[in-house]
């Protein structure tokens, strides 16, 4: 189920503007890969190219290759919709559908992907997803209440449940804790460590301690200079990045000398 992602020489453009240049990396299955770096360096943009969400911006395009296992995500005739069905995403701000109940929120992806499923099967999937997201105990008595009535941290776990209900090959998380308090953040971090036994997780974070706590591999993005495109400076085992990075810029960033 968990899939490997391989990125080769990826350039990301908005019209003629080159936003991110020359990213190559391999993301291993059943691991957490964290992407860190200063604001505006293109790490979120890069993350959104992995499920082709960046294409929602008119004029956005890429050069280079992204493979998920052996499937070329940017190959000719590949539908971005089908890519997104295999790669789940969790956003910076919790975004459960306000017009749907908790149950409907979790079932939303299944309704899209397969359509028909027996009520009892759907019940099972919803329960399993909510349990995986450590939310079941808190919401099992109010599955028919609106998802927007939950706290921010609960809403974010609901969004994670919604994303994993369709059993995606990869789970992308774009600063999933930046709108949450420390306790909710810890709940999400614990959850990531549990989920990585089944999923490939890529997380963008501004919080370096978070990257150090949850990830196996860390990639550091930086701008080459003012007005220059962002680039992947280095990517390595998290322990190595945070102890003996091979690049001076990485060391400056994680030791707090800039950014």
């Amino acid at each position: 189920m968990a899939k490997r992602i391989e990125v080769k020489d990826l350039d990301i453009y908005y019209d003629k503007f080159l936003a991110v240049q020359g990213v190559s990396m391999t993301i291993q299955p059943r691991s957490v890969t964290a992407l860190i770096g200063p604001s505006g360096c293109g790490k979120s943009t890069f993350l959104r190219t992995l499920n082709r969400m960046h294409e929602l911006v008119p004029g956005a395009r890429v050069d280079g290759k992204v493979f998920m296992d052996d499937e070329d995500l940017y190959g000719p005739g590949v539908d971005p919709v089908s890519v997104r069905r295999q790669i789940g995403m969790v956003f910076q701000r919790p975004n459960p559908f306000p017009t749907m109940s908790i149950y409907e929120n979790v079932a939303a992806g299944i309704r899209l992907n397969g359509g028909r499923m027996k009520k009892s099967e759907l019940d099972d999937v919803v329960e399993r997803s909510l349990r995986s997201a450590n939310l079941w105990a808190e919401v099992k008595d109010r599955l028919n209440r609106p998802g927007s009535g939950l706290s921010g941290g609960q809403q974010q776990r609901l969004c994670i449940a919604r994303a994993i209900a369709v059993q995606p090959g990869v789970l992308l998380m774009d600063e999933p804790c930046s709108a949450l308090d420390p306790i909710s953040t810890q709940a999400i971090e614990d959850l990531m460590l549990e989920l990585k036994t089944d999923y490939t997780i890529v997380i963008v974070t501004h919080n370096m301690q978070q990257a150090a706590r949850v990830s196996d591999v860390t990639g550091f993005f930086n701008l080459r200079g003012v007005g220059q495109p962002g680039e992947l400076v280095e990517i390595d085992e998290t322990t190595k990045i945070f102890s003996t990075p091979s690049n001076k810029a990485t060391e400056d960033y994680i030791s707090g000398r800039f950014g």
């Binding site: 499920n51 969400m53 929602l56 919709v81 089908s82 890519v83 997104r84 069905r85 295999q86 789940g88 995403m89 956003f91 701000r93 975004n95 459960p96 559908f97 306000p98 017009t99 749907m100 109940s101 939303a108 992806g109 899209l112 992907n113 209440r145 609106p146 927007s148 009535g149 969004c159 919604r162 994303a163 369709v166």
Partner: protein
């Protein structure tokens, strides 16, 4: 310094002391309260006028009011005609308005969307008498042939029982004209609601692998639901009260019928008032005003029903 602001004020005093009032706040709250009260006063005034003027007709003996069988049987066909024309117009206009709004907000390239938006807003500025003239001179003749076809092939449905009108001055044409008239306001309101669908929710559904249409069904339409109902009520209100266009287009004979394509149609309350008022005196005027009172009450009821529908799912509205 005020008395209360000693170092350790008693709890009693702290509680009773009110937050300082700033003049700007006072003026603004006074203005907005005044505006709110004013609308209620105007509404109450209209209601009082209608009741007072309608009263003589309501208590008059049946043979004094116009029409053969008393006031109830005088007003009932008019009310029926009003509701039939207005709901039919809404049935045509509402889906069209939603589709237009979706096209403008989610499908059309930005330039075309903007131009189309202006054109539709422009439709709202055309006086209703122009719509009426267009209805009778252009639209009505065009419908004569299709109406004949409907009578021949779908005549078993009571709506198209016929005999098809040879002038085209039918309930169907009146409803079509009304639909075109209410289209701009309905689509403008719905368009603004769709435009405000949070980007977050659109992205949430797209990231799950929704196609554009699935995204619209998951995020845009549910979010805009209360606005669609509200906009429809605005349009319905306009259709219920529309006078000139209906007065020009509709050929009235007074019966209560669902037959949409014949020349024997029930009138509508507003058009009937416009047509009859210049010729009326005494109790006949009171009767016309009584019909206006009925229209007023029905409009109020329709709006309250719509409000109730919206509130039923308030928790799920996304406004929290």
């Amino acid at each position: 310094m005020r008395k209360g602001s000693t170092v350790l004020p008693s709890t009693e005093r702290t509680r009773s002391r009110r937050a300082p009032q700033r003049p700007g706040d006072r003026v603004f709250s006074g203005l907005s309260t005044g505006a709110g009260v004013l609308i209620l006063v105007v509404l109450a005034g209209v209601a009082a006028f209608l009741v007072a003027e309608a009263w003589p007709a309501l208590i008059a003996p049946a043979d004094e009011v116009p029409g053969p069988d008393g006031i109830v049987l005088y007003i009932w066909p008019l009310l029926f005609g009003t509701l039939l024309a207005a709901f039919l117009a809404l049935l045509i206009a509402a889906p069209l308005a939603v589709a237009i709004a979706l096209f403008i907000t989610h499908y059309a390239p930005r330039r075309i969307a903007q131009a189309l938006g202006y054109i539709i807003d422009l439709l709202a500025a055309i006086p209703s008498i122009i719509y009426g003239l267009w209805g009778i001179q252009v639209l009505a003749p065009l419908t004569v042939e299709p109406a004949g076809w409907l009578e021949e092939n779908l005549g078993f449905i009571p709506l198209f029982a016929g005999p098809a009108s040879t002038t085209g001055r039918t309930m169907l044409v009146a409803a079509l004209v009304l639909a075109v008239m209410i289209l701009p306001i309905v689509s403008a309101v719905v368009r603004e609601a769709f435009r405000q669908t949070p980007r977050l929710h659109e992205e949430a559904s797209l990231a799950l692998g929704a196609t554009r249409w699935e995204m619209i069904r998951m995020a845009v339409l549910p979010f805009g639901r209360s606005s669609i109902i509200g906009a429809s009520m605005l349009g319905l209100g306009r259709a219920l009260g529309e006078t000139m266009a209906v007065a020009i287009v509709l050929s009235v004979s007074g019966g209560v019928t669902f037959n949409l394509i014949s020349s024997g149609n029930p009138g509508t309350i507003a058009a009937n008032i416009a047509l009859e008022f210049p010729e009326s005196t005494g109790i006949a005027v009171n009767t016309l005003i009584a019909s206006g009172l009925v229209l007023f009450a029905v409009t109020l009821l329709v709006n309250m029903a719509a409000r109730a529908v919206i509130n039923r799912r308030r928790e799920f509205s996304g406004a929290n």
